[in-house]
């Protein structure tokens, strides 16, 4: 159980939107609500704070739901840090930081809370599976019918993207910031993107100015 520490009274006068939100949360019987306030210095900070406050709040029933749905949305569990610390209801009247925040200075720098985004979560998963499924009839058509500009063109797009997604998964698993550092990971990811672009260009050039992917496989296999 996290300790509730009193905040400076000056904090409470600053941020009206989050104050209203927090008051609403407090008045409800949210056992798992984690109430904490920032003082703000302007409208920009306010909107960021809203976002942050939204992230921090997790109501009692929604706490589990939020975590599970964010796993379903985001796929990779490691990218989200669960915010479900439960606090004593009796101290909900004062806003302030918890001892968790004080000890946050001791946590590894790699720990960062991220707002879940479906583009990197379930949409990415959907896209990956759709692409993979489309490869089955594409390879079948190419094997049965032989060279054709449309199948070759599609292969030249779909296969590099599939390879890129596979490499990206391997980089996320084995060459992550905890291993190779924040900039090492960035460099590797951007290098991979550059190489994929080169591969796409190479496939396009081969399909247009040379015999095409299917015909190449056929000829070199029976050479």
């Amino acid at each position: 159980m996290a300790l509730r520490l009193a905040a400076s009274p000056l904090a409470l006068s600053r941020s009206t939107p989050s104050l209203r939100l927090a008051a609403a949360m407090r008045s409800s019987s949210a056992l798992n609500a984690r109430v904490y306030f920032h003082a703000t210095a302007g409208p920009v900070a306010d909107s960021q704070q809203e976002d942050h406050v939204r992230m921090a709040y997790s109501r009692k029933g929604a706490a589990d739901q939020g975590f599970r749905s964010s796993i379903a949305k985001n796929g990779r569990v490691g990218s989200i840090r669960a915010q479900n610390t439960h606090l004593s209801r009796s101290t909900a009247s004062t806003a302030g930081q918890t001892s968790d925040e004080v000890t946050a200075a001791y946590k590894a720098v790699a720990y960062k809370t991220i707002t879940p985004n479906q583009v990197h979560g379930s949409y990415h998963w959907d896209f990956e599976r759709l692409l993979t499924v489309s490869m089955i009839p594409l390879f079948a058509a190419s094997a049965i019918h032989g060279a054709h500009p449309i199948t070759d063109g599609l292969l030249g797009v779909v296969v590099p993207i599939h390879c890129h997604m596979g490499f990206d998964a391997m980089v996320t698993d084995y060459l992550h910031p905890g291993n190779v550092g924040k900039w090492g990971n960035k460099a590797i990811v951007w290098t991979l993107r550059g190489v994929t672009v080169l591969a796409l260009v190479g496939c396009y050039q081969f399909n247009t100015s040379d015999i095409g992917l299917t015909e190449l496989v056929k000829r070199s296999w029976t050479a």
Binding site: A41, Q97, V102, A104, K107, V159, P160, C163, L198, A223
Partner: protein
Amino acid sequence: MFAPRIAAPLRNVGHVQTLAMAKTTFAKTRVMAPVGIRILSTSQSSQNEITVAPLIQQRKNRPLSPHLTIYQPQLTWYMSMFHRVTGGAVAVGFYAGAVGYAVAPMVGMGFDAAAITSVIATVPVGAKIAAKFIIAYPFTYHCLNGIRHLAWDTTRFMTIKGVYQTGYAVLGLSTVSAVALALI
């Protein structure tokens, strides 16, 4: 360790610091601590250097517990590992070919379909069949296991029995089709 009032500037420490938040950190340092209490002047990054950096260094020096070497060999994770390895291998080959074709004119290397087929034609038959099997087997294994993965994504075969049956089916089919492809 830090009293709550003094720790007020550390309130933002666990989160990504944007410029606005950095400004508010400064504002809070001056505003929120009541009169009479000394305000911390150390910045967040030096706090981390003092407390966290030695821990990160020590973690790099510690040995890793055995994992892959001690876990019981099972079809499940062997096939999963092989799926990733074969995918990586075929993709590296594909990328090498595609990028090589894109880059070759700049380097002055003659790298096109005619050159490739003429080089292959000079290789002896036995070596050609062996090479074709070595190239075909990762490809067929990855394709068939990929279909197995897609079946799992539709929640089919999600039992121990289903996993093992489909696993053996993939192993058998991929070997047979690789041999068939090598003999074309």
